[in-house]
C-alpha cells in the first residue's frame, strides 16, 4: 500500500515537472518565433528600399541628404554585430524612410507615380508589421520572464540554464498610434 502511494506521488511529481518544463520551452520558442517574425519583416523592407530610392531619385534627385541617410541605415543593418546595434540600425532605417516619405509630399508627380504608391503602401505596412511583431515579441518575453521568475518555474530556470530575456525598445516616433488617453487612472 505504502509503495503504491509513494509511486503515485512520484508519478504526480514527474508529470508536474514535465508540465512546467514544457511550458518554459514553449514560451521560449514563442519569443524566438516572434523574433524571427521581426527579422522577416526587416528583410522584406531591405529588399524594397533600393527600388524605392530609385523611384524617388527619378523625381527628386537633388534630395541627396535623404538618400545618404537611407544608405547609412542600410550599411548599419548589414554591419550590425549584436542585438543592440541591430535594433539601432533598424530604427535608423525607420527614421530615414520616414523623412523620405515626408519630402515626397513636395513632389506631386512622384506621389502620382503608381510604382511609388505601391511601394509607399508596402513600406508603411511593413513598418506597421514591425511594430506589431515587436509588440508580440515583448508580450512573449514578458510571459517567459514571468514564468521563470515565479514559482514553480523559478526552480526549473536555474537547472535549465534559462535567464530573463530583454525587451525590445520601440523608438517614440515609430509607433504612430494616436495619443488617446484610455483613462490611465482606472487601468
Amino acid at each position: 500500500m505504502t509503495t503504491i502511494i509513494v509511486l503515485a506521488i512520484l508519478a504526480a511529481l514527474i508529470l508536474f515537472a514535465i508540465n512546467v518544463y514544457n511550458r518554459i520551452i514553449t514560451l521560449e520558442n514563442r519569443y524566438q518565433n516572434a523574433w524571427s517574425q521581426i527579422d522577416v519583416q526587416l528583410k522584406r523592407r531591405a529588399d524594397l528600399v533600393p527600388n524605392l530610392v530609385e523611384t524617388v531619385k527619378g523625381y527628386a534627385a537633388h534630395e541627396q541628404e535623404v538618400f545618404d541617410n537611407v544608405g547609412k541605415a542600410r550599411a548599419a543593418m548589414a554591419g550590425a554585430k549584436n542585438v543592440d546595434q541591430w535594433a539601432e540600425a533598424a530604427n535608423m532605417m525607420t527614421a530615414a524612410l520616414g523623412r523620405l516619405f515626408a519630402i515626397s509630399e513636395a513632389y506631386p508627380e512622384l506621389k502620382a507615380n503608381e510604382n511609388f504608391r505601391v511601394l509607399q503602401e508596402e513600406l508603411s505596412s511593413i513598418e506597421n508589421k514591425i511594430a506589431y511583431a515587436r509588440q508580440f515579441y515583448n508580450d512573449a518575453v514578458l510571459q517567459f520572464n514571468t514564468v521563470i521568475t515565479t514559482v514553480p518555474g523559478v526552480f526549473f530556470a536555474g537547472p535549465m540554464g534559462k535567464t530573463k530575456h530583454v525587451y525590445l525598445e520601440v523608438p517614440e516616433p515609430d509607433k504612430e498610434l494616436p495619443t488617446v488617453s484610455f483613462g490611465a487612472a482606472t487601468a
Binding site: 514563442r30 516572434a34 517574425q37 519583416q41 542585438v83 543592440d84 535594433a87 505601391v118 503602401e121 508596402e122 505596412s125 506597421n128 508589421k129 506589431y132 511583431a133 515587436r134 509588440q135 508580440f136 515583448n138 508580450d139 512573449a140 518575453v141 514578458l142 530583454v166 525587451y167 525590445l168 525598445e169 520601440v170 509607433k175 498610434l177 494616436p178 488617446v180 484610455f182 483613462g183 490611465a184 482606472t186 487601468a187
Partner: protein, 324 residues
C-alpha cells in the same frame, strides 16, 4: 534595449465576465472554449440519443433502439459537418470571394499585421461586395482562420479602425470561439430539426395507432414518454436558442477586449463601432443562421437587446471599450 515592456501594458489582459461577474483571463479563454467544444459534442450525442429514444418509444417501444442509432449517427454527422465544413458553408452563404494582393492590398496588409500582433498565422482574407459595413471570421482553428469583410466596411473605416475590426475577428479565431459557436449552432439546429421530425412522425404515429383499433396501444410508459417528449420538444429548442445567444453575446465582449488588447487601441474599435452604429444605409441581407457570426448583427433593429439577440447593444460595447 530596455527593461520595460513598451506602451500598452496598462491595458488589462483580463476582463470581468458580464454574466457572472468573475474575472476572465483573455489568455485562458482559448482553453475554456476547447474544453467546452468537446463537452458540447458529447452533450449533443447524448441529448439527441436520449431524445431519439423518447421519440422511438413514444411511437412504438420496439422502434426505440433503431431511432437512437439514427439520432446518434445524425448527431455525429452534424458535429463533423460543423467542425470541418462550417467555414466553407458560411463563406458561400455570405457571398464572399478571396481578396487578392493587387485589388485589396491594404486589407491584406492590415490583416497580416494584426495577425503578427496576435501571434497567429495570417488568416485567409475574403471580401463581400456589399455596401453595409460588416465583417466575420470563420475557421475551426488559427491554422484554418478566415476573415471576411464587406466593401462597405473598408470604405467607411480608416486604417486604425479597420485594424481594430480585423483584430476583433482574429480574436474570435485565436480564442477558438468559431469552433465552439459552430458546434453550438449545429446542436441547436439538430434539436430544432429533431422537433420538427418528431412532431410530424407523431402525427403519423397517432393515425397509425387509431387504425390499429387500440389493440396495440401502448401502456402507461408510452403515454408518459409522449408527455415528456412534447414538453422537451417545445422547451428544448427555446432554451437552446436562448443559451446560444447568451453565449454569443458574451463572446462578443471578450473578442472586443481581446481585439483592443492586440491592437493596444480600444479607441480604434470604439470609433469603428460608432461608425457602424451611425450607418444609415440599407442593412445586409443574410440568413438567420449566420447572423451571429458577424461583427455586428446585420439586422440591427431586430432583437436589439432581448434574450435572443446575438450581439450586445452597440452602445454598451462602445462604453466598455472607452472604460478600458
Amino acid at each position: 534595449m530596455t527593461t520595460a515592456p513598451k506602451g500598452g501594458s496598462r491595458l488589462p489582459d483580463a476582463i470581468t465576465d458580464p454574466v457572472t461577474g468573475r474575472r476572465i483571463s483573455l489568455l485562458d479563454w482559448k482553453a475554456t472554449n476547447l474544453r467546452a467544444s468537446w463537452l458540447l459534442g458529447l452533450v449533443m450525442v447524448v441529448l439527441l440519443g436520449g431524445l431519439g429514444w423518447l421519440i422511438g418509444f413514444a411511437i412504438d417501444p420496439g422502434l426505440a433502439g433503431v431511432v437512437v442509432v439514427i439520432a446518434v449517427v445524425f448527431a455525429l454527422g452534424q458535429t463533423a459537418a460543423a467542425y470541418w465544413a462550417s467555414d466553407t458553408m458560411v463563406l458561400s452563404v455570405a457571398g464572399a470571394r478571396p481578396a487578392t494582393q493587387d485589388e485589396h492590398r491594404y486589407l491584406v496588409n492590415v490583416s497580416e499585421a494584426v495577425a503578427i500582433g496576435a501571434g497567429v498565422p495570417t488568416p485567409r482574407v475574403y471580401v463581400i461586395d456589399n455596401p453595409a459595413p460588416n465583417a466575420f471570421a470563420t475557421g475551426r482553428d488559427p491554422k484554418h482562420g478566415t476573415i471576411a469583410v464587406t466593401t462597405g466596411l473598408m470604405e467607411i473605416l480608416d486604417r486604425q479602425e479597420l485594424e481594430a475590426v480585423v483584430a476583433h475577428e482574429i480574436a474570435h479565431i485565436r480564442n477558438y470561439d468559431i469552433r465552439f459557436m459552430s458546434m453550438l449552432a449545429a446542436t441547436v439546429g439538430a434539436i430544432v430539426l429533431l422537433r420538427d421530425v418528431a412532431l410530424r412522425s407523431m402525427r403519423f404515429g397517432g393515425v397509425a395507432r387509431r387504425r390499429g383499433g387500440g389493440s396495440s396501444g401502448g401502456g402507461r410508459g408510452q403515454i408518459i414518454a409522449i408527455v415528456a417528449l412534447v414538453v422537451l420538444l417545445v422547451l428544448a429548442p427555446l432554451l437552446a436558442m436562448a443559451l446560444r445567444m447568451a453565449v454569443s453575446r458574451r463572446r462578443e465582449y471578450l473578442a472586443d477586449a481581446t481585439g483592443a488588447y492586440i491592437t493596444r487601441n480600444p479607441e480604434g474599435l470604439a470609433r469603428a463601432l460608432e461608425k457602424l452604429r451611425d450607418f444609415r444605409g440599407p442593412p445586409m441581407q443574410v440568413s438567420e443562421g449566420v447572423a451571429h457570426m458577424f461583427f455586428t448583427n446585420p439586422a440591427l433593429k431586430r432583437n436589439a437587446n432581448g434574450w435572443f439577440a446575438t450581439h450586445p447593444p452597440l452602445q454598451d460595447r462602445i462604453n466598455r471599450l472607452r472604460r478600458m
